[in-house]
C-alpha cells in the first residue's frame, strides 16, 4: 500500500534489487526500498540482520554485489561516499582525536577546499543548531559522550547534504542521555526536513523517531510501515514478537466454527473473533497463533465482551505500569495494567481480549491472516 504513495512523492533514496555477499555468506538479498524526500526511515533489527550493512551500502562504504542505489534520482552505485550527498553519524562517534571540535567539523570542508569564510559560516551554523559553540576549541577527549555525539552530528550537518545516515548513534550513551538526544534528533529532523535513515536495534528509538520503520531479519525487510501499523498490525509473527516490550502474548490453537461465526480455540477455551479484521476467510480447522499485546487485555472493572478467568502468578510493579503474569488455559500471559492497581499472587481476575487489536498468524507460514 505504501508503494502507491511513493509514486506521487519524489524519492530521496531508492534501493533496487540490492544484494551483497561476503564470499559465501549472503548478507542482503534482492532488497528493494524507496525512501521519500524528507522522510525519517528507521532500519530496525537485531544484530546481524544486515541493517548496518545496508546503511554502509547507501553510504558507499561497502560495495554491493548486485543492484543499484539512487540518491536524489541519481545513480550513485559506483560513486565515492563524498559524492553521494550524504552525511553519516557513527555509533562510536568516530571523531578525529587529534583535532579540536572546530577542526573536526570543518575537516570535510577543508578537504573539499571550500573558501575559508564559507567554512566558518557553516561551522558556526551547525554549532549554533547543536549548541556546541562553547566546545569548539576542545579536543574530543575533553568531551562527554553526549557532547561527542552532538559534534558527530554536527560533522554531518556542515556537509549540507540531502540525506543523513545514522548508524546506531545513541547505543553508546547511557539511558538518560539517550532519551535526551533522541528528542533532539527528532527536533533536528523537524526543523531541517532532511531525509534521515537511522539504524537501530532499539524499538523505542524506532517507534518514537520514525515516519516509517523497516524491520529486517536475515537481510530481508519483513515489514515497511509507519510505527502505528507496525505495532498494531504486524505482518508476521517475527515483527509482532520483535516490537513491543514485554512482547506480545502468543496462544497456539486453531480456528473453529461456532454457530456460523469463526472462533479461536486453544486448550479447551474459546475466543470469539468478533471485531477481527481480515481479508482472508477464517476457515475452521486452520492451525493458527493468536497474538495479543499485554496492553490490549482488559482486567476486571467494567470489561466489555467475552470474559475469561485467570489466576495471577507474578506481579511486576514498574511505577507507571503494573505487569501481571497470568496463568490461563495452560498459557502464561502478560497483561499491562495501571500502576495503581495491585494484585497479590493467586488472585483470580477476569479478562477481556480486544480482538480489534489482536493478530492472527498462520501456524505454518507465520504470516498475518
Amino acid at each position: 500500500m505504501n508503494a502507491n504513495v511513493s509514486i506521487n512523492k519524489s524519492n530521496s533514496v531508492s534501493i533496487r534489487e540490492l544484494s551483497l555477499s561476503f564470499g559465501s555468506v549472503t548478507v542482503l538479498e534482492n532488497l528493494n526500498l524507496d525512501i521519500r524526500d524528507g522522510e525519517f526511515l528507521v532500519l530496525l533489527g537485531s544484530s546481524g540482520c544486515g541493517k548496518s550493512t545496508l546503511l554502509n551500502c547507501i553510504a558507499g562504504l561497502l560495495e554491493p554485489t548486485e543492484g543499484q542505489i539512487f540518491i536524489k534520482d541519481k545513480n550513485v552505485t559506483w560513486e565515492e561516499p563524498k559524492d553521494r550527498g550524504i552525511g553519516m553519524v557513527f555509533q562510536s562517534y568516530a571523531l578525529y582525536p587529534q583535532m579540536t571540535v572546530e577542526k573536526n567539523l570543518s575537516f570535510g570542508l577543508r578537504v573539499a577546499k571550500l573558501p575559508k569564510d564559507e567554512i566558518d559560516r557553516r561551522v558556526a551554523r551547525a554549532a549554533g543548531i547543536l549548541q556546541i559553540e562553547p566546545l569548539l576549541k576542545r579536543k574530543p577527549a575533553e568531551l562527554s559522550g553526549g557532547q561527542r555525539q552532538r559534534v558527530a552530528i554536527g560533522r554531518a550537518l556542515v556537509r549540507d547534504v540531502d540525506v543523513f545516515l545514522f548508524d546506531e548513534p545513541l547505543s553508546n550513551l547511557d539511558a538518560k542521555l539517550r532519551s535526551e538526544l533522541r528528542v533532539e534528533i527528532k527536533r533536528l529532523h523537524q526543523s531541517l526536513k532532511n531525509t534521515m535513515i537511522y539504524v537501530t536495534h532499539d524499538q523505542i528509538e524506532a517507534l518514537t523517531l520514525a515516519d516509517r520503520i523497516a524491520i529486517m531479519k536475515s537481510g530481508v525487510i519483513q515489514q515497511l510501515d509507519d510505527p502505528q501499523t507496525i505495532y498494531n498490525r504486524p505482518r508476521n509473527k517475527f515483527v509482532a514478537g520483535f516490537i513491543g516490550s514485554p512482547s506480545m502474548n502468543f496462544l497456539k490453537g486453531e480456528l473453529a466454527d461456532e454457530g456460523g461465526k469463526p472462533v479461536f480455540k486453544t486448550n479447551g477455551v474459546t475466543f470469539s473473533l468478533a471485531g477481527y479484521e481480515t481479508s482472508q476467510p477464517l476457515t475452521a480447522g486452520r492451525k493458527v497463533t493468536l497474538g495479543v499485546r499485554p496492553e490490549h487485555i482488559q482486567v476486571d472493572g467494567d470489561i466489555a465482551g467475552e470474559v475469561h478467568e485467570a489466576v495471577v502468578e507474578i506481579e511486576e510493579p514498574m511505577g507507571a505500569d503494573n505487569l501481571l503474569w497470568l496463568k490461563y488455559a495452560g498459557h502464561t500471559m502478560s497483561v499491562r495494567i495501571g500502576g495503581a492497581r495491585r494484585y497479590a499472587p493467586g488472585t483470580k481476575v477476569r479478562l477481556a481480549f480486544d480482538m480489534t487489536l489482536a493478530s492472527l498468524f498462520d501456524a505454518e507460514t507465520e504470516d498475518r491472516i
Binding site: 558507499g60 565515492e80 561516499p81 563524498k82 562510536s92 578525529y96 582525536p97 556537509r159
Partner: protein, 311 residues
C-alpha cells in the same frame, strides 16, 4: 544541610563510632615472604645482566698493567681514558688505523636512511593492508609474514648476485636497500596490527568527509600513530645498528659498519690483546642503541601497550 551539621560533631568527637579491631587500610609487612621473593628475584636478574656490563666499564678504564693483575671485578686504581681514545680514533683494522670512528660514521650513514625508508614504506603498507582491503590483500599479507620467518642466510647468495647486477655490491646503498627490504615484513605486520586496532569508523568517517588514500594517511592516521612509529624506529635502529651478517657480506673494508669493525678490532690476532681497548670499543658500539632506548623507552612501552587503550 541540617543533616551534615548534626553529623559533624559525632565524627570529630572522641567517642568514635568505630569499633575496636581492623580499620581502614590493611597494614603490610615490608619483609613479607612475598616481597623477599619478588625483590630477591628481581635483584638476581638485574645482577646477572649488570655484572658483565660492570666488568666491561671497569676494564675499559684500566691500563694494561693493571689488567694483567687479573682482578677483573676490582675498580680501577688509576682511571685512564686512553683505551677509549684508542678505540675511537687509533685502533687498527686491516690497513686503516683510524679506529672505530670510520665504522661509526658508516653505520650512521647506513642506519638513518634504512630506518627512514623502511618505516615510510612499511607504515603505508600496513595502512593499506589494514584499511584498504584490496583483492588478494590477504594473500599478499601472508606472503609477507612467511617472509619474516625465512632465515636470512638462505637469501644471502642470491642477494649478492642481485646487488652485483645492479652495481650496488659493496656500496652503502646496497646495504641500505637490503636492510630496508628485510625490515619490511615485521615492520608491515607491526603497522598493520596497529592500524587495525584503530576504530574502523574513524576511517569510514574520513571517507565520508571526502579524504582520499593519502589524505587519510597523513591527516588522520599519522597523527594518531606516534607511539607505533617510535616502537618501529627503535626496533629498526637497534636491529640495523647491531647487524653484523649483512654488513660483513655486502660491504667492503672502507664501508664496513661499526659492528664489523668492532669484530675486526677484537679478533685481530697480531700483537697483544688489548682488553681495555676491546671493552671500550664494544661499549662505544653498543652505546647508540642504548641511548636510543633510554631516550624513547617510555614511548616504546606506550606503543607496545597502545592497543589496550581505546583511541
Amino acid at each position: 544541610m541540617d543533616k551534615t551539621l548534626t553529623m559533624a560533631p559525632s565524627v570529630t568527637s572522641a567517642t568514635s563510632r568505630l569499633e575496636a579491631g581492623p580499620q581502614g587500610k590493611r597494614p603490610r609487612k615490608v619483609l613479607s615472604s612475598r616481597n623477599i621473593i619478588v625483590y630477591g628475584l628481581l635483584g638476581l636478574a638485574a645482577l646477572y645482566y649488570l655484572l658483565p656490563l660492570y666488568v666491561m666499564v671497569v676494564t675499559s678504564l684500566k691500563g694494561m698493567p693493571e689488567i694483567r693483575l687479573g682482578n677483573i671485578f676490582s675498580p680501577p686504581m688509576e682511571i685512564t681514558f686512553e683505551p677509549w681514545v684508542k678505540a675511537w680514533a687509533e685502533a687498527c683494522t686491516g690497513l686503516n688505523c683510524d679506529g672505530l670512528s670510520r665504522g661509526f660514521w658508516n653505520s650512521v650513514r647506513i642506519t638513518i636512511p634504512s630506518v627512514i625508508v623502511s618505516i615510510a614504506i612499511a607504515s603505508v603498507n600496513g595502512y593499506a593492508l589494514a584499511n584498504w582491503r584490496f583483492k588478494g590483500s590477504e594473500v599478499f599479507f601472508t606472503i609477507l609474514i612467511v617472509g619474516a620467518f625465512i632465515p636470512y642466510q638462505v637469501m644471502i647468495y642470491p642477494i649478492v648476485i642481485v646487488l652485483r647486477e645492479m652495481g650496488l655490491y659493496g656500496t652503502i646503498y646496497g646495504l641500505i636497500l637490503v636492510h630496508s627490504i628485510f625490515g619490511m615484513p615485521i615492520q608491515t605486520l607491526l603497522f598493520r596490527n596497529y592500524f587495525v586496532s584503530l576504530p574502523e569508523e574513524l576511517f569510514k568517517a574520513a571517507r565520508i568527509d571526502g579524504a582520499g588514500f593519502w589524505q587519510i594517511y597523513f591527516r588522520i592516521m599519522l597523527p594518531m600513530s606516534l607511539p607505533i612509529f617510535v616502537v618501529s624506529m627503535i626496533l629498526q635502529t637497534t636491529g640495523i645498528w647491531n647487524d653484523f651478517l649483512f654488513g660483513v657480506v655486502f660491504t667492503r673494508p672502507d664501508t664496513y659498519p661499526m659492528t664489523v669493525q668492532l669484530n675486526n678490532i677484537v679478533n685481530s690476532v697480531q700483537g697483544v690483546k688489548e682488553y681495555n681497548v676491546n671493552m671500550a670499543a664494544t661499549l662505544l658500539t653498543g652505546a647508540v642503541p642504548l641511548i636510543v632506548y633510554f631516550i624513547s623507552g617510555r614511548l616504546f612501552v606506550r606503543g607496545i601497550a597502545a592497543g589496550a587503550v581505546k583511541g
